[in-house]
């Protein structure tokens, strides 16, 4: 139980920090696409018998870079939609070849937080630290190009390079999180708390802090509720993460009046 708690908290922190930039850049679709690609990777990895983490990493990185490179020419959102479809199509193909049982597929999509081993805790923490380090290194150019793209470009920051680095970061965060919380939850955690935080404050540092706090609150409540009711944790994370945003919007509307 303590392992679950630690791992989920680590994932929440990473999701909130990376998610802050996802919301800032309006990249929610990408954040949805990458975990779906990762799902296909896990299915493929189990088929050829390698570590599912490897499959997750390769596919989420491949999907993310595919989106980044193909959308240089053509519409970003249409390209993203095509890449997701392709990845899910591959996932369906791999699943039809493999002999996995449906519950295992379900847990890859919706998470299996309550069955985490001590082994996975260490791995998650290491990957999370790598994520944090990358975020710290690219923080300034990423922030500048997300908020003032013209200024960033004038200062010699290549938008494409920042975009690709950012996508790689999303892919790494996804690889960290998907085995623990599932492809769909990772998306909810990356969008809900940061979007709520952004509604309440426009300053980056308080917004990021608030996003982390909300994400932690989300997973803690969700773990407790899931433990009590035995319902899937995905339900609690998905609804609570979105509820923060609704509450923040309501609060902002009240204050404005």
């Amino acid at each position: 139980m303590i392992d679950t708690w630690i791992t989920a908290s680590v994932v929440a922190v990473i999701a909130a920090l990376v998610g802050f930039f996802v919301v800032l850049r309006g990249a929610a679709f990408t954040a949805h696409a990458v975990p779906n690609a990762a799902f296909a990777g896990a299915a493929g990895a189990s088929l050829i018998g390698v570590s599912s983490l490897l499959g997750l990493g390769v596919f989420s990185l491949g999907g993310a870079l595919g989106i980044g490179l193909l959308s240089r020419r053509g519409r970003h959102d249409a390209v993203t939609a095509l890449i997701v479809a392709l990845m899910l199509g591959l996932g369906a193909l791999f699943l039809s070849w493999s002999t996995e049982y449906a519950p295992e597929i379900y847990s890859l999509l919706f998470g299996e937080v309550l069955g985490i081993s001590a082994n996975e805790v260490g791995l998650t923490v290491i990957l999370a630290l790598v994520c944090l380090a990358i975020l710290a290194i690219i923080y300034r150019p990423l922030m500048l190009s997300s908020t003032l793209p013209d200024v960033a470009e004038a200062r010699g920051i290549s938008p494409l390079r920042v975009e690709l680095l950012f996508l790689a970061l999303v892919a790494l965060a996804t690889t960290t999180a998907v085995p623990v919380v599932g492809a769909l939850l990772m998306f909810s955690l990356m969008i809900g708390p940061p979007a709520a935080a952004r509604v309440l404050t426009k300053h980056p540092a308080p917004a990021m802090t608030l996003a982390v706090v909300l994400a932690l609150a989300t997973v803690w409540i969700a773990i407790a509720a899931s433990y009590q009711t035995n319902w899937p944790i995905g339900f609690f994370v998905g609804t609570i993460a979105s509820a923060w945003y609704l509450l923040a919007r309501a609060w902002a509307a009240l204050v404005r009046r």
Partner: protein, 304 residues
């Protein structure tokens, strides 16, 4: 010659009833998706289109739980959530992106719960996979007329709304200045898209449905600037990909590894993706001009 024909069209392909139903409903879905998809791509609402297919999961799993026909679950969820997404969002692209994400996240969570109930209450664990991935070959007889009815309804609405919708998709300020109620139109379009995608999710599966909506339309808009031509082209390409996919999937029962056949959705998506990549080769020379043209259909000048 005969042996080649036999290699391409496996014996029994034309006599199989599931294949007939799949060819027919797949064609209907592909044509409607192509037409609606052109507007989806023009309005940069691919994320919403993709999400609506995922949300069809909610309707499907809910209907499964209540024991209703999945068709109604899919359609009801498509209309409701499409409307909710539009009401939540605003005109700004970034905030629309986030609000779509919020609705999607919440609904996926609820779907997780409903699927959990489905799998725990019924002893069959296949519900998750069936609802998430769908299969063209699983189309039952009674859904065929209902599918066609909804498809005709969607196309009719699109025809009525064609001019104001096109203008508001390309330049919403101009449309508003001309007295078109842009928000209302957007809401109606989201609902039409909701029904189209929901229908697609049911017939061809949740993953293939948005691919049919966006892939052929994005490809067509790279090849022609005229919206009507793009709609026809998108419908045609979607149809070709679907039928070819069905043929390949039928053939794949003889392929390794297991003899269960490869999924139809994989073939159709792969064909659509290859088509999109191929269309990029043609536009490479005029990259910049083509990109601006993609945003500015020719007919706009006539409309304005």
């Amino acid at each position: 010659m005969g042996t080649i024909m036999h290699a391409i069209f496996q014996p029994g392909f034309f006599a199989s009833t599931p294949v007939h139903a799949a060819l027919l409903t797949g064609a209907v879905v592909a044509v409607v998706s192509g037409a609606v998809g052109v507007f989806t791509v023009l309005r940069s609402q691919s994320f919403a289109g993709h999400s609506l297919a995922d949300l069809g999961t909610l309707g499907g799993s809910g209907a499964y739980l209540l024991g209703l026909g999945p068709l109604w679950g899919f359609v009801a969820a498509g209309v409701t959530v499409g409307g909710a997404m539009d009401l939540f969002g605003s005109e700004r692209r970034k905030s629309r992106d986030v609000s779509t994400g919020i609705v999607l996240g919440a609904v996926l969570g609820i779907s997780a719960l409903l699927l959990y109930f489905d799998t725990t209450q019924s002893s069959t664990t296949g519900a998750t996979v069936t609802i998430l991935f769908g299969s063209l070959f699983a189309v039952s007889g009674y859904t065929v007329p209902a599918t066609i009815a909804f498809a005709v309804l969607g196309l009719a609405l699109l025809t009525i709304l064609y001019r104001p919708l096109l203008l508001s998709s390309v330049n919403s300020d101009l449309a508003a200045a001309r007295g078109i109620r842009v928000r209302l139109l957007g809401l109606v379009f989201m609902m039409v898209m909701g029904v189209t995608v929901a229908l697609g999710s049911l017939i061809v599966g949740t993953i293939l449905s948005p691919a049919l909506l966006i892939g052929p339309a994005a490809t067509a808009l790279r090849l022609t600037r005229r919206p009507v031509a793009a709609m026809a082209l998108a419908g045609g390409m979607g149809l070709a990909a679907t039928w070819l996919g069905i043929l390949l999937a039928y053939d794949s029962y003889r392929w390794p590894p297991s003899g269960d056949g490869w999924p139809v959705s994989f073939f159709v998506i792969a064909l659509i993706f290859v088509g999109y990549l191929a269309s990029g080769l043609r536009t490479r020379r005029t990259t910049h001009a083509a990109q601006t043209a993609e945003r500015m259909p020719h007919e706009l000048i006539e409309v304005a």
